[in-house]
């Protein structure tokens, strides 16, 4: 198996194979679209136009991409440590709660230059804390992190519904939303009506994760743990602490979805603002091969799909926005679970030519 894997040249492994996997996913999407009675190429044209056809739509695309970058990085960091964090959904939810609570508590007292960093730190802290519990359970009690992070998504959801309906709801409001934030808790808008300064935070996170993973000793230890835990122990790494570090970083990154959504656009705490981004982060990380640059590119693609898909659903009634969810599922299936599917064909093809 490992011998067979080495048979592919590196460029084919890193570039060609992922592209084939993604192409397979999109071919299946095309077939589904055609079965719904829509010309897939017409749909593709509308989708591209909807995603990048005007400054307003580009703004939306980048705004969605910001969320995908945060959750994609979150999954990627955990992956490098050999941990599968499926809890991005809950960590993003709690991150939003953290920055929201900080702003609701302090927006009357702090000016924007102080309020914004405090709120961002609160988002990171809450997201990290929500990831720290499953991490602790994995590191000290041996519970499987996949199961515990899934469970914590549901606990987060129940907790948020309780808080929004019973505690944080604005007086006199019929919908479960908090009061609006004071303007010191708003992130500056960069473009259109939604693209805000958190995209700068996302870019900084991509660079930061790259520096951390490949240019610091902690990052090296983290990746060693992911590749070979026994070697990491031999090298003197404390696996428990490294598990905590990886998951807390991962949770903090996911928590930044709250910054983009609540401080950037909604300007209040509300329910389900994070819906789907945590799971989509798995697709983003798989597609981006867990590298920050790849994650950034994949996030852009998913942002474009999200925005283009919404426009497409507006133009063609047979297609709904959930088509984007189908694409996400297929991308995870083909570039994750079935990643080895085209490998034998590719090997045969390349072997014949050389």
């Amino acid at each position: 198996m490992s011998v067979a894997r080495r048979a592919l040249p590196k460029w084919a492994d890193i570039v060609l194979l992922p592209l084939i996997n993604i192409a397979l996913a999109f071919i299946v999407v095309g077939v589904i679209v055609a079965l719904l009675g829509v010309d897939p190429f017409h749909a593709l044209k509308l989708l591209v136009l909807g995603a990048v056809g005007s400054p307003e739509s580009i703004g939306y695309t980048l705004y969605y991409a910001t969320n995908f970058a945060f959750t994609g990085l979150a999954v990627a960091v955990a992956f490098h440590a050999g941990l599968f964090n499926i809890g991005g959904e809950g960590q993003a939810y709690l991150g939003g709660l953290g920055c929201g609570l900080a702003i609701l508590a302090l927006d009357k007292y702090l000016p924007a230059w102080a309020m914004i960093p405090v709120a961002i730190a609160a988002a990171a802290l809450f997201g990290a804390a929500w990831a720290a519990v499953p991490a602790w359970l994995q590191a000290w009690r041996g519970s499987h992190i996949v199961i515990t992070t899934i469970m914590f998504n549901f606990v987060a959801s129940a907790l948020m519904v309780y808080l929004m309906v019973n505690v944080l709801i604005a007086p006199g409001s019929m919908t479960p939303q908090s009061r609006g934030f004071g303007s010191s808790g708003f992130l500056p808008i960069l473009m259109g009506s939604t693209l805000n300064a958190s995209i700068l935070l996302a870019i900084a996170c991509c660079v930061g994760v790259w520096v951390f993973l490949w240019h610091t000793s902690w990052g090296y230890a983290l990746r060693t743990m992911g590749h070979n835990p026994a070697a990491a122990i031999y090298a003197g790494t404390n696996l428990r602490r490294m598990t905590m570090l990886a998951m807390c970083l991962s949770g903090a990154l996911a928590g930044f979805v709250g910054v983009n959504e609540l401080m950037g656009v909604q300007h209040r705490i509300m329910l389900d603002f994070q819906a789907g981004y945590g799971f989509a982060g798995i697709a983003v990380a798989l597609m981006g091969r867990n590298h920050p640059l790849g994650v950034a590119l994949a996030a852009l693609l998913f942002g474009a799909l999200q925005q283009g898909g919404a426009e497409l659903a507006f133009d063609i009634p047979q297609i709904t926005r959930e088509m984007v969810v189908v694409i996400q599922g297929l991308v995870i299936l083909f570039s994750g679970a079935l990643e080895h599917l085209p490998r034998p064909w590719l090997q045969a093809l390349l072997a014949r030519r050389s």
């Binding site: 697709a283 994750g336 679970a337 080895h340």
Partner: protein
């Protein structure tokens, strides 16, 4: 006295009603997990089955055609999972997550394209639903009894047959099974197909017995609660059944307590009851209530030596 017994009767009926999809789904998941294939995709299988059973029942007018379609839909998902995890040795958790997301999207896309009701299927008339058999106010339709029979059946098949012995072996040590000349892949495929069968029944139950049609995301985490029940039952059929009943009871109690003030405590938040199955499972996994040990080879793809 009569009053109390009727409350107890209604409460047990309500518990069983809520627990049935969990029981069916958990028994399905047990086969898969016992054979060494993690199934995080129970939720997606159930959702797909719910959609196709409701859609079929709505078009044909026959509840049993709906159940059949639900099973077929879940089996297709199960085969995809098997193809990815057994044939191509892909990551089982990734595959499960993919199938869940795929189901969440595809059911709404297809529902909207076919029925144009925002992803729902049309409300089913009572003749194309599964109706109570003996007690009209207890909701004891045929699938509830199927669920009750499924538990001893699973226990017997896993614990008392040659197939079950091999199934357990393949989940603990596939190499030994392979060395004995038995196909690991074929055994695991059969386990995954059994899982699809029960998840299909569970999904059909949701759409055409408990409710009158499909609505988006109608499984609402029940596949994961079933998974929690398997872990809570330590991968054994009867304890898992008990966990399902307990989680069902929690749900039934939560519905009854909604908005009621309990003396001394005040209003109990419903959300606490919704989170309890997950919290309890986490406590169990943390080793605070006994120890849950998964089949040894669960999650590990089997690579045949050449």
């Amino acid at each position: 006295m009569g009053d109390w017994s009727s409350i107890v009767f209604l409460m047990s009926a309500a518990t069983l009603r809520v627990a049935t999809p969990l029981i069916l789904c958990a028994m399905g998941g047990l086969f898969s997990e016992k054979s060494g294939i993690i199934d995080v995709g129970l939720e997606g299988k159930m959702l797909m089955a719910a959609f196709f059973s409701a859609a079929t029942a709505s078009v044909t007018g026959s509840a049993w055609a709906g159940v059949g379609a639900g099973i077929v839909a879940a089996e297709v998902m199960a085969l995809l999972h098997g193809f990815a995890c057994i044939t191509h040795r892909g990551n089982q958790v990734v595959s499960g997550v993919a199938l869940n997301i795929l189901a969440a999207g595809l059911t709404v896309v297809l529902g909207n394209a076919w029925f144009k009701q925002g992803g729902q299927t049309p409300a089913l008339p009572s003749e194309s639903r599964l109706l109570p058999l003996f007690f009209p106010n207890a909701g004891d339709n045929a699938l509830v009894y199927v669920g009750l029979v499924a538990v001893p059946f699973t226990w017997w098949l896993i614990g008392r047959t040659r197939f079950g012995l091999r199934l357990r072996a393949v989940g603990e040590m596939p190499l030994a099974v392979d060395a004995a000349g038995i196909s690991v892949a074929w055994l695991r495929y059969r386990a995954v197909l059994l899982c699809g069968l029960f998840a299909g029944l569970a999904g059909s139950y949701l759409a055409i017995a408990q409710n009158a049609g499909f609505s988006r995301d109608m499984t609402a985490g029940q596949g994961f609660i079933a998974l929690a029940a398997i872990i809570f039952g330590k991968w054994r059929p009867f304890p898992a059944f008990g966990a399902c009943l307990m989680f069902g009871l929690l749900d039934a109690v939560a519905i009854r307590l909604q908005g009621l003030k309990v003396p001394g405590i005040g209003e109990v938040p419903v959300q606490l009851f919704q989170a309890l199955p997950y919290l309890l499972t986490m406590f169990l996994l943390a080793g605070f209530i006994g120890r849950a040990v998964a089949p040894k080879a669960v999650g590990v793809p089997y690579v045949k030596e050449h």
